[in-house]
C-alpha cells in the first residue's frame, strides 16, 4: 500500500494542462488549512511507510514539512516525496539528506518539452521548468539522484520530439538518475488538457522507443516495462497499483491522508471535483463487469492479458467512467504483446499463453465475487509455474 500524505490536498503552484487534479481545483475543493497533529496521528495509526504528496507538497510550511519528514525517518528510516521541484531551495537539500527523503521529480522534459506543465504564462512555465531541471542536477551532484516522473504528451513525445526526449533521458542517466516512471496522459481531463494527448498509436510508438532505449542504456530503468513482464510471469509481488484490480471506491494500493487526517481515495478517480471518502468495504464490481463485458462495450471480455492488466487504472477509464476499461487499452495490449513475445522467445512461461489461464481466471473471479483480491502469485503457488 502506498500512503500519500496531502496536507494541502490538490493545491499546487503550477497548473499542468493535463493534471488529473485540475477538476478538484476548478471545483474549488482545495483545503486552505491543515491539521498536522491529525495527519501525524493517522500516519501513526497506519504504521506504513509514506510519501509526501500533493498537489505540490513543497507549498507546506517548512517546519511542518520537517516534522513529517522526521516522522518518516524515525518510523521507517526515510520518506518518499513527489514534487515538481520548482519550490525546492538550497536549505531543503539538507533536510532531504538529514531525513533520507527519496525524491521523485515530475518533469516531462527540458525547457519547451515541459510546456504542458503550465505555470500561467510562458516565461513562468519556463522558469518553473528551469528550477525543476536545476534541482535534478543539484540532487544528483549531492549524491541523492531523484526518480523522474515523465508524462508522455504531445509536447514531449509527439513523433518529432520523441528523439529529443530519449536524448534527454540519456543525459539524465549521465547525471546519475536511475529510475524513471512513465505516465500516459490522462485523456479525459480538463478542457485545458485537450490537444495534448497522444493518440494510442503514438503512445505505443513512444513507449516502444523508450523500451528500446532502456535496453541500450542499462543504467536507466523505466519501472513500467519490468512490471508488465513481472505481471505476465504471474509475479505481482512488487508491481504497482494499476495492475492490482483497483477499486475506485476504496483504492487499496493508494491511500491519501488528507488535510484533516482522514483517509481519502487515490485522487485519480475524482472526475467531478469531489474527493470522496473511502467506502467501508473494498469490492471488485469493475473487474467482474469488465471480465464479462465485450470489448466493443468498453469491457475486456476474452482478452488474454486480463489477469495481468485487469482493465488497468480506473482513473484512466474510457469517458472518465470508472466502470469502463482503460482508454489506454491499445497501448497496454500492444506492450503486453511485445513483452509476451520476448518472454516466450527466451523460453519463459507467461500466464497469457498458459493452459492454466481459464482456471486462474475462474479463481480470480470467484475471489472477487466475495470481495477478496488474492495476489496472482498466491494463486499460482500450488503448481509453482504458470
Amino acid at each position: 500500500m502506498t500512503v500519500e500524505v496531502r496536507p494541502l490536498g490538490d493545491k499546487c503552484n503550477i497548473k499542468c494542462r493535463y493534471c488529473y487534479q485540475e477538476g478538484i481545483r476548478t471545483a474549488g475543493n482545495v483545503p486552505k488549512r491543515y491539521d498536522l497533529d491529525a495527519i501525524m496521528a493517522t500516519l501513526d495509526r497506519l504504521a506504513e511507510p509514506f510519501s509526501l504528496f500533493g498537489g505540490e507538497i513543497m507549498m507546506t510550511r517548512r517546519p511542518d514539512l520537517e516534522r513529517l519528514m522526521q516522522l518518516g525517518f524515525d518510523r521507517h528510516g526515510g520518506v518518499g516525496m513527489q514534487t515538481n521541484g520548482t519550490l525546492i531551495e538550497e536549505l531543503d537539500i539538507e533536510l532531504f539528506r538529514k531525513y533520507r527523503v527519496r525524491i521523485g521529480i515530475s518533469i516531462d522534459g527540458p525547457g519547451p518539452l515541459n510546456d504542458a506543465r503550465w505555470a500561467g504564462s510562458l516565461p513562468a512555465t519556463r522558469r518553473a521548468t528551469a528550477r525543476s531541471e536545476a534541482v535534478i542536477e543539484t540532487l544528483c551532484r549531492e549524491g541523492m539522484p531523484p526518480n523522474v516522473i515523465v508524462t508522455l504528451n504531445r509536447m514531449n513525445a509527439a513523433p518529432a520530439r520523441l528523439g529529443l526526449l530519449c536524448e534527454w533521458i540519456g543525459f539524465l542517466g549521465s547525471l546519475g538518475v536511475r529510475k524513471l516512471r512513465l505516465h500516459l496522459l490522462e485523456q479525459d481531463e480538463t478542457e485545458g488538457g485537450e490537444g495534448l494527448a497522444l493518440t494510442a498509436q503514438e503512445n505505443l510508438a513512444a513507449l516502444r522507443q523508450l523500451r528500446r532505449l532502456e535496453q541500450k542504456l542499462p543504467s536507466i530503468q523505466f519501472d513500467i516495462f519490468a512490471e508488465m513482464a513481472a505481471m505476465l510471469r504471474g509475479d505481482d509481488a512488487r508491481t504497482s497499483c494499476v495492475f492490482h484490480a483497483c477499486d475506485p471506491y476504496a483504492t487499496r494500493a493508494v491511500v491519501g491522508v488528507e488535510s484533516d487526517g482522514r483517509l481519502g481515495n487515490c485522487g485519480r478517480t475524482n472526475k467531478d471535483g469531489v474527493t470522496h471518502l473511502r467506502a467501508s468495504r473494498e469490492a471488485f464490481e469493475r473487474q467482474l463487469s469488465l471480465y464479462r463485458t465485450p470489448q466493443d462495450n468498453g469491457g475486456c471480455q476474452g482478452c488474454r492479458f486480463f489477469l495481468a492488466c485487469k482493465g488497468n487504472c480506473p482513473g484512466t477509464a474510457i469517458g472518465g467512467d470508472w466502470r469502463m476499461r482503460s482508454v489506454d487499452c491499445p497501448v497496454w495490449f500492444g506492450l503486453f504483446e511485445d513483452i509476451e513475445t520476448e518472454l516466450l522467445a527466451s523460453g519463459e512461461t507467461v500466464i497469457s499463453r498458459s493452459d492454466r489461464r481459464p482456471e486462474l481466471e475462474a479463481k480470480m473471479i470467484a475471489a472477487w465475487s466475495i470481495g477478496d483480491n488474492p495476489a496472482l502469485h498466491s494463486l499460482l503457488q500450488p503448481a509453482e509455474a504458470p
Binding site: 551532484r141 549531492e142 470522496h276 469517458g319
Partner: protein
C-alpha cells in the same frame, strides 16, 4: 451497518443468487462526499436502516403484509428470532448466501463455515415456509403482493422476471430517460424505506400511497426525526446510471454502487457535453524539431558543454544557485554568452534585471539576439572590444558578471571584467568540471579564490579580493 437488514426489493428470494444481499452490498459501498457529509449522514443512514426494520416488523405484526424477510449474519440469528418473538412473530432462517470475505469473523473461516454465510430469515405472524417467498415456487404476482407490492407493480415485477431480468431498480436506472426517478425509489436499494418494492413506473400512484403509509407508521411509532430525514432525502437531486451492469447512484452527500446482473452491456455514449463549456484551452503551438533544438540550446560545444541538455541543465542550476545574488542585482552580464540561454533563464527569473551579453562568435551572437529579442544587448567583436563597449553602455558599472574563466583570453580580460562589475560569478562548464572535478579546483588552477560559504556546485562568486588572474 445494522445487525439485520431488509432485503431489496420485496419479495426477497429473487431469481439470482446475488440479489438478496444487494442492500448490504450497496450500504457497504457508500462513499461520502466529505467528512461533514459523513459525520451527518452515516449515523442517520444507520438509524434509518434500523427504523425501516422496525416499521417492517410492525407492518407484519399488524398484518398489513403477510411476511417480511430480513438478512442477518449467523451470529445474529438468535437475537433476531428473540426480537421477533417479543412481538409475537415467528422467525425462521430459510436460505443462506455466501457473504463478503471482509465480514467474516477471523476465527470462523476454517472451523465454522456456517459463520461465513448471511441468512435470510422469514418472519410472519405464524410459522412460514420458504416456498411462500420463492417466486419460482409460486405465482410471482401472488408472492409479490404477499410481501407488500401493489398489484400493478407485482405484475410488472413478475413480467420483468419472466423476461430474464433480476434487478428492476438497476433496469430502471439503465433507461435512457431517467427523468422522474424519485430519490426514494433510487435509494430504495439501501433498504431504508419508504419505498420497499420495484415500482411499475416512475409515477406509480399506488407506490406513492405505500410510501406514505410507511412514513405515517414510522411517525406513529415515534420515529419522528428519522421520518423527517426521509422527507429531506425525497428532495435530493440524484445522478443514477447503469453501465455494463454496474449501477451507481450519486447524491450531494454520498455515492454508492452495486453490481447487478441486470441488463446487457450497452455501448457508451460520447463524453458528456459539459466539457465543452469549461475553461478555455490554451492554444498549443508545436514548433518543428529544428526550432526546438535551437530553443533548447545551440552552440553548446563552443561554450564547453557536451550537449544542449547539459548546457540547459547547468545554466538552470547556475540561476538556481545564484538566486540570492540575482535578487539583489539590477544589472548582469554573461561574458561569452553563446546563444544567450543563460541570459534568457535569468530574464525568466528576474524580468526587471537589465542584462548584457558578449559573444565573439558572430553566429552565436546572432542566435542570442534572436533568443533574447530585439531589445537585447548582445555585444559582438573581440572580448576586449565588447567589454569596452559594455563599459560605455553601463557607466555606473554592472552588479553581476557570469564568467567561464576558461573562455577568457588572459588575466587582462578578467581584470577588465572586474573593472566594470561588482561581483564575478564563475561558472563550471562540462569541460571545466570534467577537467577539474569541482569549482574549488577549477578556481585554484587559475589562481582564483572563491567566496566561501556557498554550496558552489556549479557556480561560485569570486572573492572580492581577487582582482586579477595570478
Amino acid at each position: 451497518m445494522t445487525s439485520a437488514w431488509l432485503s431489496w426489493p420485496r419479495p426477497p428470494l429473487a431469481a439470482t443468487p446475488r440479489e438478496p444481499v444487494v442492500t448490504k452490498a450497496a450500504m457497504q459501498r457508500i462513499s461520502f462526499s466529505g467528512p461533514q457529509a459523513r459525520a451527518l449522514w452515516q449515523p442517520r443512514l444507520e438509524r434509518l436502516g434500523a427504523t425501516a426494520v422496525a416499521i417492517e416488523l410492525e407492518m407484519v405484526r399488524r398484518k398489513q403484509i403477510a411476511a417480511t424477510l430480513l438478512w442477518t449474519a449467523y451470529d445474529d440469528i438468535e437475537a433476531l428470532t428473540e426480537r421477533a418473538s417479543t412481538i409475537s412473530l415467528h422467525a425462521k432462517p430459510i436460505k443462506a448466501s455466501l457473504g463478503y470475505a471482509a465480514d467474516w469473523p477471523l476465527e470462523a473461516s476454517i472451523g465454522e463455515p456456517k459463520r461465513l454465510l448471511d441468512y435470510a430469515v422469514l418472519i410472519g405472524t405464524v410459522s412460514l415456509d420458504a416456498p411462500m417467498a420463492e417466486p419460482a415456487g409460486d405465482d410471482p404476482v401472488q408472492v409479490a403482493m404477499r410481501f407488500g407490492y401493489p398489484a400493478c407493480c407485482a405484475r410488472s415485477w413478475a413480467d420483468h422476471l419472466r423476461r430474464g431480468g433480476s434487478d428492476p431498480l438497476a433496469a430502471m436506472l439503465g433507461r435512457e430517460d431517467k427523468t422522474g426517478i424519485h430519490a426514494h425509489v433510487a435509494l430504495a436499494v439501501l433498504g431504508l424505506g419508504p419505498v420497499r418494492h420495484a415500482p411499475c413506473s416512475t409515477d406509480c400512484s399506488a407506490t406513492q400511497d405505500r410510501a406514505r403509509s410507511f412514513l405515517d407508521l414510522g411517525r406513529e411509532l415515534g420515529f419522528v426525526e428519522e421520518i423527517g430525514w426521509l422527507e429531506e432525502i425525497a428532495d435530493w437531486p440524484l445522478g443514477a446510471s447503469l453501465v455494463n451492469g454496474i449501477a451507481e447512484l450519486k447524491t450531494a452527500a454520498f455515492r454508492c454502487t452495486w453490481l447487478s446482473d441486470e441488463g446487457a452491456p450497452r455501448a457508451r455514449k460520447a463524453a458528456p457535453a459539459l466539457r465543452a463549456e469549461r475553461g478555455k484551452a490554451v492554444a498549443i503551438g508545436l514548433g518543428d524539431s529544428d526550432d526546438i533544438i535551437a530553443e533548447l540550446g545551440a552552440g553548446c560545444e563552443a561554450v564547453g558543454f557536451e550537449n544542449a541538455f547539459a548546457m540547459r541543465s547547468r545554466f538552470s542550476t547556475v540561476v538556481w544557485e545564484q538566486t540570492a545574488a540575482l535578487r539583489h542585482a539590477a544589472t548582469a552580464v554573461h561574458v561569452g554568452c553563446g546563444d544567450g540561454l543563460l541570459l534568457e533563464l535569468i530574464a525568466q527569473t528576474r524580468p526587471k534585471l537589465t542584462l548584457y551579453g558578449t559573444e565573439e562568435d558572430s553566429a552565436l551572437a546572432e542566435a542570442a539576439r534572436r533568443r533574447l529579442g530585439p531589445l537585447s544587448r548582445v555585444l559582438g567583436g573581440t572580448g576586449g572590444e565588447a567589454l569596452a563597449a559594455l563599459a560605455g553602455l553601463a557607466p555606473e558599472g554592472i552588479d553581476l558578471a557570469f564568467v567561464d574563466p576558461e573562455r577568457l583570453d588572459d588575466g587582462e580580460a578578467l581584470a577588465a571584467i572586474r573593472a566594470t562589475t561588482r561581483t564575478v560569478i564563475v561558472i563550471g562548464t562540462d569541460r571545466a568540471l570534467h577537467r577539474f572535478k569541482d569549482m574549488e579546483s577549477l578556481a585554484a588552477s587559475m589562481g582564483l579564490v572563491l567566496l566561501p560559504g556557498r554550496a558552489a556546485r556549479v557556480s561560485a562568486a569570486l572573492s572580492p579580493a581577487m582582482d586579477r588572474l595570478h
